[in-house]
Symmetry: C2
Subunit: 238 residues, 2 copies
């Protein structure tokens, strides 16, 4: 008997038709699964309903990852028991791709340690889409996740990564919690050099998608108003 | 009259059914385009045929990017003339996503400078899929592109990024031209610490997909044989 596989299942970013951002092939795979590692039960069920998942939810096992991802190795090993018995399972992202600025990587890591097969499915990643659309260097880039919350630390970090982008010709990518977007933008424009290029990519793949790359000096002339919406930031000092 | 848009169109990675890796929605967009910025005419036509593109190729304009991406701003501005007149166009990748370890970003950058809209479409990126499947830190990662060709330089670089992965808790991602895969693997195993985790992700999204993450010491016991196939490498020293 062969082992089950762990499928990594991306989800839409916000209110988007699934066939706009997910390959049809993903459905066939998802429809065959009965065990899902998830972030939040309600949104997981909503997603499965949206794609027409046929099995009644009473027959499906949903295991919350937020909790379990902090478990020690033994407990994660336990969670993967069905896979060792030949049953496949999926990690379902809340938005975007599992394991990329999202929980899931601990369980994937455990799957590798158990010698289980891991299969990543294609879907939208706001980080990757933002990089494509920024026009910045895609041969060399770094993703920092969230910058420090403290303003002094955040401004120092912005200056540090601006220097790195110049020194290494490397695109700097970072995110912010939506309600702090405007603070980050203000810091970006007040800390960074006028010739530094900044891309602000909001609401990717939705009807309100906006992606603009401008120099800091051009942004200063036309102040960006970033609402409380999911946004990816990219920076490059030429 | 509004401007045309520049669509960034991902392509399959190798021999994969398009509906396995591309959302159905991409087709509708592509079918409406008559101008494509491409890397190589033959593979562009092959891709368009594969997805059932309906317009005869005599009525389609293919503009090679390899050449034109090195053009000065004025020439790139010229290439975008149709968009300023209201006609949309696409950048078609050879494999994966335009602008990510692939040409295209210069033209996207010019589009931003002209105030044109840029729309990234969803598709397979071997870098992103490898990161998801590696089980390594997806909150903080860096992509280096190709490492140095010279063996001494390459080994120094591997040690440098291994130190970075420890210091910053940052996943290090890099690629190699297929025929040099085995040299890179040999260097990885001989330069890096035994506890460093290395992921080797080959032939992603194809029938021959292989993704394995192991410590250097585990890889030494079971020497990886990486063929001359597209491969992404990831490293993390815990």
């Amino acid at each position: 008997m062969s082992n089950g596989k762990l499928y990594l299942i991306p989800c839409t970013l916000g209110e988007t038709a699934t066939d706009h951002v997910l390959p049809a092939g993903n459905k066939e795979i998802i429809f065959n699964l009965r065990i899902f590692f998830i972030e939040e039960i309600r949104s997981a069920r909503r997603f499965l309903k949206k794609i027409g998942y046929p099995t009644p939810f009473e027959e499906v096992q949903f295991i919350e990852l937020n909790e379990h991802s902090k478990l020690p190795f033994e407990a994660r090993y336990e969670l993967l028991e069905p896979l060792r018995k030949g049953v496949s399972a999926g990690i379902l992202s809340e938005a975007g791709c599992p394991g990329v600025a999202d929980p899931g990587s601990d369980l994937v890591s455990t799957a590798h340690e158990c010698g289980l097969g891991v299969v990543p499915l294609v879907g939208p990643s706001s980080i990757l889409l933002a990089l494509m659309a920024s026009g910045m260097n895609g041969q060399s880039f770094v993703f920092h996740g969230y910058l420090p919350k403290d303003q002094g630390d955040r401004r120092r970090k912005l200056q540090e990564i601006e220097r790195d982008s110049l020194k290494k010709n490397q695109t700097q990518i970072f995110i912010e919690t939506p309600y702090r977007n405007q603070h980050l933008v203000d810091d970006l424009l007040s800390c960074c050099n006028d010739e530094t290029r900044v891309c602000i990519a909001s609401n990717l793949t939705t009807a309100d998608e906006h992606v603009f790359t401008k120099t800091v000096s051009a942004w200063k002339e036309q102040k960006p108003k970033v609402g409380k919406v999911p946004t990816v930031y990219l920076m490059h000092r030429p």
